[in-house]
Symmetry: C2
Subunit: 186 residues, 2 copies
Amino acid sequence: MSLRHAILVLLQDQEASGYDLAREFANSIGLVWNATHQQIYLELGKLNDQSMVKYRHIPQDGKPDKKLYRITDEGRDELIRWLRKPAAPPRIRDAFMVKIAGGDLSDSASILRELDDQTDLRRERLNTFESLASKLDDTSRDRDLFTYLTLRRGILDQQAWLHWADEVRSALKKREEQPVSVPTSV
Amino acid sequence: MSLRHAILVLLQDQEASGYDLAREFANSIGLVWNATHQQIYLELGKLNDQSMVKYRHIPQDGKPDKKLYRITDEGRDELIRWLRKPAAPPRIRDAFMVKIAGGDLSDSASILRELDDQTDLRRERLNTFESLASKLDDTSRDRDLFTYLTLRRGILDQQAWLHWADEVRSALKKREEQPVSVPTSV
DNA sequence: AGTTGCTGCGCAATCCGTTGAATAAGTAGT
DNA sequence: ACTACTTATTCAACGGATTGCGCAGCAACT
């Protein structure tokens, strides 16, 4: 139950609309916590009911109106309270890894195909994170230390994944070179 | 929706009770997909209704009776069908990382405390995975290739995390040595 | 004698999250 | 002209997941 807290963290820096937040969840924070726009709007509604955030209505022409949310003192208190409690263990839901674990039932070709797709995605992400991190020069790296550390986490994560993918590729290649009769299930 | 498939993957190798599966979810597969016993029992019930699995009732004395589940042909078909479809992108729910991202509101001491706790956990996991992986010698590494690759994923993941944790520690240390006045929120 | 912990299963309430859709107006491309 | 995309919010339905509880007996520790 800490989508709310992720939102509060984002609102700490700047006033934002649900739409803005959704975009940030798709990028930066998405590395750490992901959410769809429906979820975000719902949660913003609840946070508003509990006066953790408040908004001002911005009429726009050409574009639809929007609500700019900002965090309240109650919101900041709640966030600080939450930060003090030990974090809940991460829930892991990696369907691709389940497929790897059940790899005996697949053929190498389809595994490799999906591995390559994932590799492209990860490589792209790595580039994004690296260019964001390099934009934080040494001076701003002090101010935005935690942004930097979050990015570092993402970078190391992608690198580890890509390294693993190489291992998978060479293992599958080796297996095909010496095709020892593989039992259906072991 | 692939708790069911994770269960089917596990049942592919051996007959197991809900309790057995829960233990495996707490360890090996837990690295990749986690679930509580309630969820598992519920899903086993559904899988049974759809005749993806069947069970035999084992009366025991001293211990409670149990149900030993095994996968059916329908279950294996369903699993193979699922393996062919592209996997859903992993959902990430890492509360600890949200706390890091909001680190400006915490004090270094409490961050370090939690970082150390997590480090212990990760190190322990790394040891477990490494000893499991080394048990798979070269011959069985061919048979259990996908078990091995899953373990490698876990190992690389823990290593990357531990490396990141070191970066965090030295960054926080450096910050305290030169305590530039840190604004309340940036 | 009492507590804790392990084996083993299950239900109910509630909450979290996803899927799918609707509305509405502008802009950019084919 | 038509299609597709972007900005911006919201609702409804369903299914997945968590929390809390309950039963039951044995083993082991204090």
